[in-house]
Amino acid sequence: MDLSFNDDQKQLQDALAKFIERDYGFDRRRAHQLAAEGFSREAWTQFADMGLLALPFAEADGGLGGGAAEMLVVMTAIGNGLIVEPYLATVVLAGGAIARAGNAAQRQELLGAIAGGRLIAAVAFEEPGARYDLAQVATTATKNAGGYVISGNKAVVLHGAQADRLVVSARTAGAAGDAKGISLFVIERGAPGMAVRDYRTIDGLRAADIAFDGVRVPAANRLGNGEFEEGGAFAVIDAVADAGAAALCAEAVGVMESLNRQTLEYMKGRQQFGQPIGAFQVLQHRAVDMFIHAEQSKSMAYLAAIKAPVVDRADATSAKERRRAVSAAKVHIGNSGRVIAQEAIQLHGGMGMTNELAASHYAKRLTMIDFVLGDSAHHLARFEAA
């Protein structure tokens, strides 16, 4: 048992803290967010140079073989800095899916491009009305000569419009709701028959609703083609979504810690009735509750990161244990995140209502993380079933 960071991991932590301080201030972040793509290619290149984009992948796939601790460090920093670049979509979700389900050629080509910062990727798993159930896949992939024809709709695809490639779940057999019969396909941006509705999310990111109408993909674009049977991708989707949820938990912890720090600073500086508002015990106890929520959330984020690695590992825990840990963490962090965000706004008073205050943006991100890859209610039910 060891829940501490080693020297290399601490160095990474320091490097990221310096990067945020020097290159990712709140104004810079806002500029990235409002740029055409909703993020900064320059920052992305810096991430590549720092090795972040290669971090979780196996050395055999051109990665750095990072584990739970490294992912906790990176995702917590992403939360600390409220970073808007598509790390979750590209590295954790699409990268994780390719690493787990891709054949050797796909892993080499796509993971290499992701690691080098040359490829933005995203996953299109969720469908309208599916409400976080990733087996609710109505999108079909019909075999034809030399490939597949894909038709269906995908909902709230994180960074879907910015991605050069999408990893799309589609049904090669069975009916919506069946775990069996789902395959994963790599689809290039702008493929004929794709309609993309790009939009901002309220927490400063980008997402898209995407319709596929008879999009033709070659058989070679099915992840695992030639190595894995078609129709068996649900286990991968489930594991990738869990790794994504674990990453979101760590990001949420970073947001919580920053938001709590900002709230404390405000409580110490803001004077009313001739004293700092932080001198009032009724507010002190609320700040303590926020602190305890963040500490307990951190504990759960550690558990989730350990049990849900981005890429498959020889010593991986059982799927049941992974689901249990991730769902427990997502429930806890969803609930704690909502509390901390609400309290941070309340303790900032009127200032907390303004769009110019950084804390307001942290509160928005923290609240909305719960709506990505399954909210507290979804994961509570999944925890009970696990």
């Binding site: 048992m1 060891d2 829940l3 501490s4 960071f5 584990g67 739970a68 601790a69 906790l72 404390l264 409580m267 110490k268 932080g278 001198a279 015990q281 002190q284 106890h285 700040a287 303590v288 509750d289 602190f291 305890i292 500490e295 307990q296 959330s297 951190k298 504990s299 759960m300 550690y302 558990l303 990161a305 350990i306 840990a325 427990a328 429930v331 806890h332 509570l380 925890f383 009970e384």
Partner: protein
């Protein structure tokens, strides 16, 4: 980074579990699992068994007769004995006064009292709270004045909420030896033989009609000066040292694991709408949320155990707050699960293994619920813990 015990720790856990299988008496286990009241002889029987194995003070350093267990081993022992349904080790001697004596006691105090604790000869109680000194402990008024010949302190005053004082051989006690200066100064730490003339122990009942608490009155009680620990007037420092010593025990993790298992058993037996209560969506959600809280507490304990800092930090306050709230949640859910059979109150069934009314598991649940309201009050109320975090961590 990983959350699994080392092979060495796992081997130790196996050893503890095997010992529990072979040595934990079934009647004591049943009393604990069913929330019945334990008597002095129940605690003593179990502690004699542990002492014979050298495990009553297993986490003590070897130089004081312990096994020199590390933090992880001490945690495993505490966790597994609680999960198995062993009576808890009464903490006042083993966990509370002993570290103070080790750090600040005289050679004679170490010889006499540490030996008495380790071999289960002395039962200790804690003389801290007074009628006017609860959360504001430093305002205590029990006076200790030096006798004319300077050989004794003469104690006058009253302690209250004194747990198990009626069973105790010894009390460690905070008394006021000076009343000028800050109220934290002028407090001294004394070891008092409960058979000393002038001590009166008067019981009172808690709201579940249990007798574990007492008032203790001191009327010209003469305590030898050699029974003072450390320096006169420095007792507050020793008391604070004591409070921070056990960083993880305060979470009550093992006990909550046992109670969650009990809750699940009850919820599988009790019915609602013709199905087990455990399958009722509303109850299942409450149960799952409690289990998730337990997982978070478990992980926080693991983080504390693997942190390399030696000095106790604010984590003890977090564990106290989260641990006690979880314990109370579990007692509340168990009482809810019992349904109408939470109502019957049969004192004989509390104090022995006699049958109550209704299902066997239901008899003690409401009484336990009411009794467990204490855990967020004692040991520094949860509000005091929040004050500590606000000051020490948040800088407010």
């Amino acid at each position: 980074m990983d959350v699994d015990y080392s092979a060495e720790a796992l081997a130790f856990r196996d050893e503890v579990c095997a010992f529990l299988r072979d040595n934990l008496p079934g009647d004591l286990r049943r009393k604990v699992i069913e929330h019945r009241h334990l008597k002095r002889e129940d605690y003593m029987r179990w502690q004699d068994i542990l002492a014979a194995r050298g495990w009553l003070a297993g986490h003590w350093p070897k130089e004081f007769g312990g096994q020199g267990w590390n933090h992880v081993q001490a945690h495993i022992f505490d966790d597994e004995t609680s999960v198995a349904g062993a009576p808890r080790v009464v903490p006042f001697g083993i966990n509370m006064v002993a570290p103070v004596i080790m750090a600040f006691g005289t050679p004679r105090q170490k010889e006499v009292y540490l030996t008495g604790i380790r071999t289960n000869k002395h039962w200790w109680c804690q003389g801290y709270s007074e009628p006017g000194a609860g959360s504001d402990l430093a305002s205590l008024k029990t006076r200790a004045e030096l006798s004319g010949d300077g050989t004794h302190y003469v104690i006058n005053g009253q302690k209250t909420w004194t747990t198990m004082a009626h069973w105790a051989d010894m009390m460690f006690c905070l008394v006021r030896t000076a009343s000028d200066g800050r109220k934290q100064e002028g407090i001294s730490f004394l070891l008092i033989d409960m058979k000393t003339p002038g001590i009166t122990v008067r019981p009172f009942l808690t709201l579940d009609e249990d007798h574990s608490l007492n008032d203790v009155f001191f009327d010209n009680v003469r305590v030898p000066v050699e029974n003072r620990v450390g320096e006169e007037g420095k007792g507050w420092t020793y008391a604070k040292f004591l409070l921070g010593f056990e960083r993880t025990v305060v979470a009550g993790l093992g006990g909550s694991k046992r109670e969650l298992a009990t809750l699940k058993r009850i919820a599988a037996t009790e019915m609602r709408n013709g199905r087990p209560l455990a399958e009722d969506p509303r109850f299942a959600a409450k149960l799952a949320l409690a289990e998730i809280e337990l997982m978070a507490l478990d992980m926080t304990v693991m983080r504390v155990l693997s942190s390399r800092s030696k000095s106790p930090g604010p984590e003890a306050s977090i564990l106290k707050i989260k641990g006690t709230v979880l314990q109370q949640t579990l007692t509340e859910l168990m009482m809810e699960a019992a349904g109408p059979y939470a109502l019957p109150f049969v004192p004989e069934a509390q104090d022995s293994l006699a049958d109550g009314v209704g299902p066997a598991h239901a008899a003690q649940l409401a009484a336990t619920y009411f009794n467990w309201r204490k855990v967020s009050i004692f040991g520094g109320s949860n509000e005091i813990q929040k004050n500590i975090i606000a000051k020490a961590v948040l800088g407010l």
